[in-house]
């Protein structure tokens, strides 16, 4: 529904803003904005919030979201036009989206869409039924291809009605009969429940879990020192062409110094040399069979020793 809805009558700000400037909406919005280091990051979520509150996104709501997220109105308008799920015009109570992409296509999506157009008497390009109950839209992949052809009723996947509820049983795709059952379910619901209860469009927000730092931008803090300093890995010994002992290893970039240690007769390791943290090998003279290890040191401290290598012949 990303075309320009020039025919839609845009309500005035005075009509829209009181619905958005309620304590419930504002507190949720403030929590959302705190999640991002810049307010602009919350723009998509703010638009969702406005759409959830109003049922669709009039221009006044887009301007409201722009103001709250500190972006220009035209930026927010462009964003709202780019993403297909923002409704730039009101839809019926049951928004039926049928997937027409390849997996659904080969399972007969076109048949179902043609049937749906006939049953509801509207075009599948976003047509609304006169009673205001249904909007029918053919869409691209909905990400449930194992249930092709698949449909969404508002935000729920539905390919059948099971035990009086919309359901998408494993491997069950939409057919014309199942589509009729779902439409009948919607009509029955419209009689039983006069207006559709609001649904949290952000899937249940987290407020006051304690894990969310309070101030704007706080979430972009740099992680403090948390992990142990990195030891050298894969210490191994070999011989250079001229017969010298060559030790090689891999190490983390933050290492500043390596302490090369050899095992003495008493069984204790004693320092032999200090090497730069950039070194990846050491060449020198050592007796065959000598046990050596490296202890890496970084600004954080000394790491646990590396593996023990034996000098080869």
């Amino acid at each position: 529904m990303s075309h320009h809805p020039v025919h839609v009558v845009q309500p005035a700000d005075a009509e829209i803003l009181p619905k958005l400037e309620t304590p419930a909406v504002i507190s949720r919005l403030e929590e959302l904005i705190r999640r991002y280091p810049v307010k602009r990051g919350a723009l998509l979520q703010a638009l969702w919030l406005a759409q959830e509150t109003l049922g669709w996104l009039p221009n006044a709501a887009i301007r409201w979201a722009a103001l709250k997220c500190e972006v220009s109105p035209v930026h927010a308008y462009g964003v709202s036009m780019f993403y297909t799920m923002y409704k730039k015009e009101p839809t019926g109570r049951f928004f039926l989206q049928i997937c027409q992409n390849v997996s659904c296509h080969i399972q007969g999506a076109e048949n179902v869409i043609v049937h749906a157009e006939k049953v509801l008497g509207v075009a599948s390009q976003g047509g609304n039924t006169a009673d205001g109950l249904f909007t029918l839209l053919r869409v691209e992949c909905l990400g449930a291809c194992g249930n092709g052809p698949v449909m969404q009723v508002n935000d729920d996947f539905a390919t059948d009605v099971v035990d009086g509820e919309l359901a998408m049983p494993d491997g069950v795709g939409l057919t014309t009969e199942r589509f009729d059952r779902i439409v009948a379910w919607c009509r029955a619901r419209a009689v039983a429940i006069p207006t559709e209860p609001a649904r949290d469009s952000l899937g249940g927000m987290l407020v006051g879990t304690g894990g969310h730092p309070g101030a704007t931008g706080a979430t972009s803090a740099v992680q403090g020192i948390y992990a142990p300093p990195a030891p050298a890995l894969g210490l191994g010994s070999s011989r250079t062409e001229d017969g010298k002992v060559k030790l090689s290893w891999r190490a983390a970039p933050e290492t500043t110094t390596f302490h090369l240690e050899t095992r003495s007769g008493s069984g204790e390791f004693a320092a032999l040399a200090s090497l730069s943290g950039k070194d990846k090998e050491w060449i020198g003279e050592l007796a065959v069979g000598t046990e050596v290890r490296l202890v890496a040191e970084s600004a954080v401290g000394r790491a646990k020793p590396s593996n023990i290598a034996k000098v080869v012949a």
Binding site: Q100, H105, I106, G148, L202, Q223, A227, L233
Partner: protein, 435 residues
């Protein structure tokens, strides 16, 4: 049944943290993880051979090693759950069935990279999955596994679920970052790569859902056990989404290198093809299709499929039988790419739309001589002249479908009695596309 590393909790009610813990969940958040330095953990993931499961198959440990340390900026982890590739639905199921495994995988990645804030970018259509994730994140906070001082350590990490709003292109990592920042989801030029300058101009790691969910198993069983599965160059297991003409479509996990026909016909998997197999799309809509003959020789791993001039992609297998029109399938795919082109680069914006309009006339019985050559010529031109690979993702199936099933396309064109008439350019005016 082969070892499962990602889907083992399916159908067990693991959405609840208690059940997840009783199945061995969150056991990696112990000295097993917290005794490892960043360097050791990245090395461990490298040794496991784990490759990105989102499509490109880039080694995960190497991707992590590109994230600079001590840059003075925060490091972000962004989970790519914007699963939109037609044929792919594994991440959807994974998030619904086992959201805590994703959180555990994110904490492991966060430890390796020093992440303070992580986002899960979920495509807007997956509201039930978003609800499952939010519920799981809430439980994890309450259990002290997220937020400040995770599991009693000095490590702090927050996870936020970010709802997308319907744009396939946001599955491309730089478009996803733009979308997270409150922009249109248009891909950025690389370099700089996200590892150096991604979300909010800070180092950013973007990983697929399935990639992160493989980490708890790797940490528990060791990288060597993971590397032993699959093939030497494609180690481990992969989750395949199988749809189309099979008896039991669904999400199946199998070691990489499993023969394609085993997935389609094996009793643990799809249990057979409906009708006579005509061809298989092995790795999502942007991977070239295999004919039935080729499918019989194909193994599902990165190298074997590359050898057959196609790709494993996201592991989305779409099987189609001899009653299905390849022309209709290609028209459906091309319409999709024309619809989802972000409009930033001219070759893709114009080229996909042009190809779509020609294919629509062919499908509707108004194809003319030379139309197929025209599409092929277009496809060859919008394949690599753009910022992101969306154009290439459309041109690959166009070149492949017309190349392999040419007779079907010719048969459709041949039905038009006026096929010899010259094509008038007015038939392809852009207005014809924007219905």
């Amino acid at each position: 049944m082969a070892t499962l590393t990602v889907t083992q909790n399916f159908g067990k009610g693991a959405q609840d943290i208690g059940v997840y813990k009783s199945l061995g969940g969150y056991s990696s958040l112990s000295s097993r993880l917290f005794d490892l330095s960043q360097f050791e953990l990245i090395d461990l993931v490298m040794r496991s051979g784990l490759r990105g499961r989102g499509g490109a198959g880039f080694p995960t440990g190497m991707k992590w090693s590109f994230v600079p340390r001590n840059s003075g900026k925060p490091v972000y982890l962004v989970v790519n759950a914007d699963e939109g590739e037609p044929g792919t639905f594994k991440d959807h199921r994974l998030m619904l069935e086992d959201p805590h495994r994703l959180i555990e995988g994110m904490i492991i990645c966060g430890w390796a990279l020093g992440v303070r804030t992580a986002y899960i970018y979920v495509r807007g259509e997956f509201l039930p999955a978003i609800e499952a994730l939010n519920a799981a994140v809430k439980q994890a906070y309450e259990a002290g596994l997220l937020g400040k001082n995770i599991a009693g350590t000095s490590f702090c990490m927050d996870i936020y679920v970010h709802r997308g709003a319907g744009a396939y292109i946001c599955g491309e990592e730089t478009a996803l970052i733009n979308s997270l920042e409150g922009f249109k989801g248009q891909p950025r030029l690389k370099p700089p790569f996200p590892a150096v300058s991604g979300a909010f101009a800070s180092p950013t790691c973007v990983n697929n859902v399935e990639t992160l969910m493989a980490l708890p198993w790797i940490l528990e069983n060791g990288p060597e056990a993971y590397a032993k599965m699959g093939t030497p160059k494609s180690p481990g297991t992969k989750v395949f989404s199988v749809s189309g003409d099979v008896k039991r479509p669904g999400v199946y996990e199998a070691p990489l290198g499993t023969p394609l026909m085993e997935i389609l016909e094996g009793k643990d998997y799809c249990q057979g093809v409906v009708g006579t197999l005509k061809g298989v799309i092995p790795g999502g809509s942007s991977s070239p299709a295999l004919t039935a003959e080729e499918a019989k020789q194909a193994n599902l791993d990165y190298e074997a499929l590359a050898g057959l001039k196609t790709m494993l992609g996201s592991g989305a297998v779409v099987a189609f039988n001899t009653t299905r029109s390849v022309v209709g399938m290609l028209a459906s795919l091309t319409r999709f790419y024309a619809h989802e082109s972000c409009g930033q680069c001219t070759p893709c914006r114009e080229g996909t739309g042009y190809a779509d309009r020609i294919l629509k006339t062919v499908v509707s019985g108004h194809g003319r001589d030379g139309d197929l050559e025209q599409i092929l010529d277009l496809a060859a031109n919008f394949t690599s002249s753009t910022i992101c690979p969306l154009g290439a993702a459309d041109s690959a199936p166009i070149i492949n479908f017309i190349g392999k099933f040419r007779s079907e396309f010719d048969a459709v064109v041949a039905k038009n009695p006026d096929r010899g008439e010259p094509r008038l350019s007015k038939n392809f005016r852009p207005g014809a596309f924007w219905e």
